[in-house]
């Protein structure tokens, strides 16, 4: 009995979770899929320049599915896409539902939800996953 009590005491003081930071399900970027308006097939895009209205960062990217970081200090963010012939825009509307310390070794983590999207240049956009989460593969579908 005495040994069992000592064992439980050690377990109570010593037991703690060791979390893998990669297991944090929250994402801090929205995943956008691009599709042809004519037949809804996936469309590989090749943008010369990608910028947003909240930072001075600019980059180029290509692919059928692209990730777009969201600014936790704001509730809307507009991305501009430049090609050889046109310039497109896509505005994300969102909320930071909460921020938390996922685990002791991982640091702060934002949770975004209520994602919405609008555009003045693409043919149409559809929000199919309003929560930024690893379980939701695509958040927004863009047709053009």
């Amino acid at each position: 009995m005495r040994k069992l009590v000592i064992l439980i005491f050690i377990a109570a003081v010593g037991c703690h979770d060791i979390a893998d930071c990669d297991l944090d399900p929250d994402l801090e970027y929205a995943v956008v899929g691009f599709y042809n308006s004519s037949d809804s097939s996936t469309k590989v895009v090749d943008f010369n320049l990608l910028t947003n209205t909240n930072s001075n960062y600019s980059y180029f990217d290509s692919g059928a599915f692209l990730a777009f970081p969201l600014d936790p200090n704001d509730q809307s963010l507009t991305y501009l896409f430049e090609t050889d012939s046109d310039t497109y825009d896509l505005t994300f509307l969102y909320e930071v539902s909460h921020v938390q310390l996922y685990a002791v070794d991982c640091g702060g983590s934002f949770t975004y939800d209520s994602l919405d999207a609008e555009t003045t240049t693409f043919d149409s956009v559809a929000v199919i996953g309003p929560i930024l989460n690893k379980n939701i593969l695509v958040n927004v579908e863009v047709y053009f």
Partner: protein, 255 residues
């Protein structure tokens, strides 16, 4: 896997304790049963229950006990950034106890990228029932309920570049409150004179929080990790019982 090992240990403890209690009850009635003959004939649990009903029920307060939890002190030695203290006061009458517990916790966690601080006060109160045969030395095996409440505040500050330049983010909850219920089980035994020692295992359930903003708490005083909707706690107490009636010394074996 470690979570299941802890649960299995608690289950083994419960079975071993119950076995000891039953054996002790049976031996008690065998040694000094109603017949007074000190018969060694086996006594069934049905006969034990019948004999118990014949015992007079004394509802007067036996003792008031003040206890100090050793776990926060042990944790402070291992992790100096996690300060806390907890005290317990309980009264004993018939085969019941009523306990009032309270304390504080000040936790700080940090690394190169963030700093998190949580500070709060908590209390718990509720009844317990003693499953052991009533003994004047103060030994008990108890099951109980608690209502618990914690008032706390916390702050999180971290540096991160999410694509918009390296930025310092700061969030805080200034006046939050968490309430929950507990199912408890504990074992208490006398050491010498009025000095007693024992432990309590708690299953914390039905947590409900208000007063938090964007920041989701990580540590909550008295409850533990906020992310878990249920939590298990362990306290190890050193106590001093102040008897209202003279307590008998533990029996000494005849030579």
């Amino acid at each position: 896997m470690s979570k299941y090992i802890f649960s299995v240990l608690i289950l083994c403890l419960a079975y071993m304790a119950k076995a000891q209690v039953l054996q002790g009850i049976q031996q008690g009635y065998q040694g000094g049963g109603q017949s007074g003959s000190g018969s060694t004939e086996p006594v069934t649990m049905k006969e034990v229950r019948a004999l118990r009903k014949l015992e007079p029920k004394d509802w007067s307060i036996k003792y008031l006990k003040f206890s100090y939890d050793l776990i926060p002190t042990g944790r402070l030695l291992l992790k100096p950034d996690q300060k806390g203290q907890e005290l317990q006061a309980s009264i004993s009458f018939y085969k019941y106890f009523f306990a009032l517990e309270g304390g504080f916790q000040d936790f700080t966690r940090s690394n190169a990228d963030y700093t998190y601080a949580s500070s709060g006060r908590f209390f718990r109160l509720g009844p317990e029932v003693n499953l052991m045969k009533i003994n004047e030395q103060g030994g008990s095996l108890t099951f109980g309920l608690r209502y618990a409440q914690s008032n706390f505040s916390d702050q999180l500050s971290f540096v991160e570049d999410v694509g918009f330049g390296e930025t310092t983010y700061e969030f805080e909850n200034t006046d939050a409150r968490l309430i929950w219920m507990e199912l408890t089980t504990g074992l208490n035994f006398p050491i010498k004179g009025n000095l007693q020692m024992g432990y309590t295992i708690r299953l914390k359930v039905f947590r409900n929080v208000d007063g938090i903003d964007t920041l989701r708490p990580f540590d909550v005083a008295g409850f533990g990790r906020y992310e878990k909707r249920t939590s298990i706690g362990f306290n190890y107490y050193l106590g001093w019982a102040i008897p209202f009636k003279k307590m008998e010394e533990a029996p000494v074996e005849a030579q």
